[in-house]
C-alpha cells in the first residue's frame, strides 16, 4: 500500500510539472496525436498510387496498421519512456532511482508517464475498430477473442522490445538511436503486409525477431485469408503468444543489466 502511494506521488509530481507548461503540453498532446494520424495518412497516400500492396487491399492493410498503432501506442504510453535509460545512466540519475526502496522498472515508468500520448491511443484503437468494420470480418467466438487479444499481445510484445533495446544502455551507454531501429522500426515493419519484404529481411524481422506474429498473422486470421507465405491458419490464432517468450527474455536481460550496472560516478 505504501509502495502504491509512493508511485502515486511520482505520478502526481509529473502531472503538476506538465500543468505548469500548459501551452507546450497542449501542443504536445496534439502533435502526438498527429504522429499516429500521419502513419495512417501515409498508408492512404501510398494506396493512391496502387490498388494492392504486396497482394493486400487498402482495407486489409489498414487492419494491420490499426492493430500495430493500437498495440504500439499502448506499449509506448506505458513503458516507452524507458528509452531515456541511456540518459539516466549517463547523467547518473539512475543512482537516485536505485537507492530508493522501490522496484526500478516501475519507478522509471512512473517518473515520466506520458499522458500526452492518450489521444494517440484513442486514435489507434479507432483505426483498428474501423478497419474491423470495413473488412466485414466473419465473426466467430474465437475471432472475437483474437480481435481483443491481438492488440494487447502486440502491446506486450512492443513493451518487451522497448525494455530490451533500452537495456542496451547498461552495456553500451552511447547506443544512441539504435533502439529506435527495433521499436519504431518494428512498428513500421508491422504496419504493412510482410509479403512486401525480401526473403532475408523478412526472415530476420518477421520470424527471427517475431514481428511477423504481431499484426500480420492475426490480421490474416481475422480476415480469414490463407497465408501466401505458407504458415498454417492456426498460426494467426497462436501468434499473440509470441509476447510470452519476448517478455521472458526482456525481463531476464533487464535483470542482468541492472546487476551489471556500475555508476558512471557523475
Amino acid at each position: 500500500m505504501g509502495e502504491l502511494r509512493a508511485y502515486a506521488a511520482l505520478l502526481g509530481g509529473k502531472a503538476r510539472s506538465m500543468a505548469s507548461y500548459r501551452t507546450s503540453f497542449a501542443i504536445e498532446l496534439l502533435s502526438n496525436l498527429g504522429s499516429t494520424v500521419l502513419d495512417v495518412v501515409t498508408v492512404f497516400v501510398l494506396y493512391r498510387a496502387t490498388a494492392r500492396v504486396g497482394g493486400f487491399t487498402l482495407a486489409e492493410s489498414l487492419l494491420m496498421t490499426g492493430l500495430t498503432a493500437a498495440g504500439f501506442v499502448l506499449a509506448d504510453l506505458v513503458v516507452g519512456n524507458i528509452d531515456d535509460l541511456k540518459r539516466y545512466v549517463r547523467a547518473g540519475t539512475l543512482d537516485t532511482v536505485l537507492i530508493r526502496p522501490l522496484r526500478v522498472l516501475p519507478q522509471l515508468i512512473f517518473m515520466d508517464l506520458p499522458l500526452r500520448k492518450l489521444l494517440r491511443l484513442a486514435f489507434g484503437i479507432f483505426v483498428y475498430v474501423a478497419a474491423l468494420v470495413v473488412n466485414h470480418v466473419h465473426w466467430t467466438p474465437t475471432r472475437l477473442t483474437l480481435a481483443v487479444v491481438a492488440p494487447i499481445g502486440a502491446a506486450v510484445f512492443f513493451g518487451a522490445i522497448f525494455v530490451l533495446t533500452a537495456s542496451l544502455a547498461f552495456w553500451w551507454v552511447e547506443s544512441g538511436e539504435m533502439g529506435a531501429a527495433f521499436t519504431y522500426g518494428g512498428r513500421d515493419f508491422t504496419s504493412y503486409p510482410i509479403t512486401i519484404y525480401s526473403d532475408w529481411f523478412r526472415g530476420v524481422f518477421a520470424y527471427a525477431l517475431g514481428f511477423g506474429l504481431v499484426s500480420y498473422q492475426p490480421a490474416l486470421a481475422l480476415l480469414d485469408r490463407a497465408d501466401p507465405l505458407g504458415l498454417p491458419a492456426w498460426a494467426g490464432y497462436a501468434a499473440p503468444l509470441v509476447s510470452v517468450p519476448a517478455v521472458a527474455i526482456a525481463a531476464l536481460v533487464w535483470r542482468i543489466g541492472i546487476r551489471h550496472y556500475r555508476s558512471t560516478g557523475s
Binding site: 501551452t23 501515409t42 498510387a49 496502387t50 500492396v53 539504435m178 531501429a181 527495433f182 512486401i196
Partner: protein, 236 residues
C-alpha cells in the same frame, strides 16, 4: 557609479573581417569535434538509418510494383530506391532533427551566457551547426548510400553538373534547416519549454520533407502548395 568593463581579446584589430572569419572557423571546427567525439553514437545512428532505409525502400518498391506502369508519381523503381537511400543519408547531414540545445539552454537560463558573448548567437549557433554538418557529411552519408547500392539498384546521375549542384543544394538545405530549427527552439523564449513545438516540427518536417513518401504521390494541388509555400521540400 563605477562601471564594469569587459574587454575581449581582439584577434586582428586592423582587419575585422579576418577576425570574424577566424572566429567563425573556430566555432565550426569545435562543432565538428563535438560530434567526432561520439564515434559509437555515429555508428549506432547509421545502423538505425540503414534499417529504416530497408523498411521504407521495400514499401515504396511494393507500391511501384502495383502502380500503373510501375511508376508512381513518375518515379521508377531505381529512382525510388535512390530517393530513399540518399534521403536516409541526408536526414542527419541536413539535420532536420538536430539536437534541441538552444531551447534547453533557454529553459535552464544558460542562454544568458551566450548572449554575453561577443559573437551574435545566430552566427555562433550556425557555425556550430555547420561543424555538425561537415562531420555528418563525412560519416553519416556514406553508410546508407553504400548499403542501398549493394542491396538495390540505384540510379547514378548522367550529367556532371548534377554533382556540384547537389553539393550546393545540400549546404543550402543545411542552412535552411538550421534556420527553421533555430526558430522552433526560440519559441522557448515565450513558452519556457519548447518540447511541444519540437515534437510538432519533428512530425511535420518528416512527412512534409518527403522522408516517408515522395511528395508527388500527394494530390497535385497539395504537392504544389508545399513546394511553393513551405520551406520543407527544400530541406531534404
Amino acid at each position: 557609479m563605477g562601471g564594469i568593463y569587459a574587454s575581449v581579446l581582439t584577434i586582428s584589430p586592423g582587419r575585422p573581417f579576418r577576425a570574424s572569419v577566424t572566429t567563425f572557423g573556430a566555432l565550426v571546427w569545435s562543432g565538428f569535434r563535438r560530434y567526432a567525439t561520439y564515434r559509437q553514437a555515429t555508428l549506432a545512428g547509421s545502423f538505425t538509418n540503414i534499417v529504416f532505409g530497408f523498411l521504407r525502400c521495400y514499401v515504396l518498391l511494393a507500391v511501384a510494383a502495383g502502380a500503373t506502369g510501375s511508376r508512381p508519381g513518375g518515379y521508377d523503381g531505381a529512382q525510388l530506391a535512390t530517393f530513399v537511400w540518399v534521403g536516409q543519408g541526408l536526414l542527419t547531414v541536413v539535420g532536420i532533427w538536430g539536437p534541441p540545445d538552444l531551447s534547453d539552454r533557454i529553459r535552464t537560463g544558460d542562454v544568458a551566457s551566450d548572449l554575453l558573448r561577443p559573437v551574435p548567437p545566430v552566427t555562433a549557433y550556425l557555425a556550430a551547426d555547420l561543424g555538425r554538418f561537415g562531420h555528418a557529411l563525412l560519416t553519416r552519408m556514406v553508410g546508407p548510400v553504400i548499403v542501398g547500392a549493394i542491396f538495390f539498384t540505384l540510379t547514378t546521375p548522367t550529367r556532371w553538373q548534377t554533382i556540384p549542384l547537389f553539393a550546393i543544394s545540400t549546404l543550402l538545405a543545411a542552412i535552411g534547416s538550421f534556420g527553421c530549427r533555430f526558430l522552433i527552439n526560440a519559441t522557448a523564449y515565450w513558452l519556457h519549454d519548447a518540447r511541444g513545438p519540437l515534437v510538432l516540427w519533428t512530425l511535420g518536417s518528416g512527412v512534409l520533407c518527403g522522408l516517408y513518401f515522395p511528395l508527388r504521390l500527394l494530390p497535385e494541388w497539395l504537392a504544389v502548395t508545399l513546394w511553393v509555400a513551405t520551406p520543407f521540400p527544400g530541406l531534404l
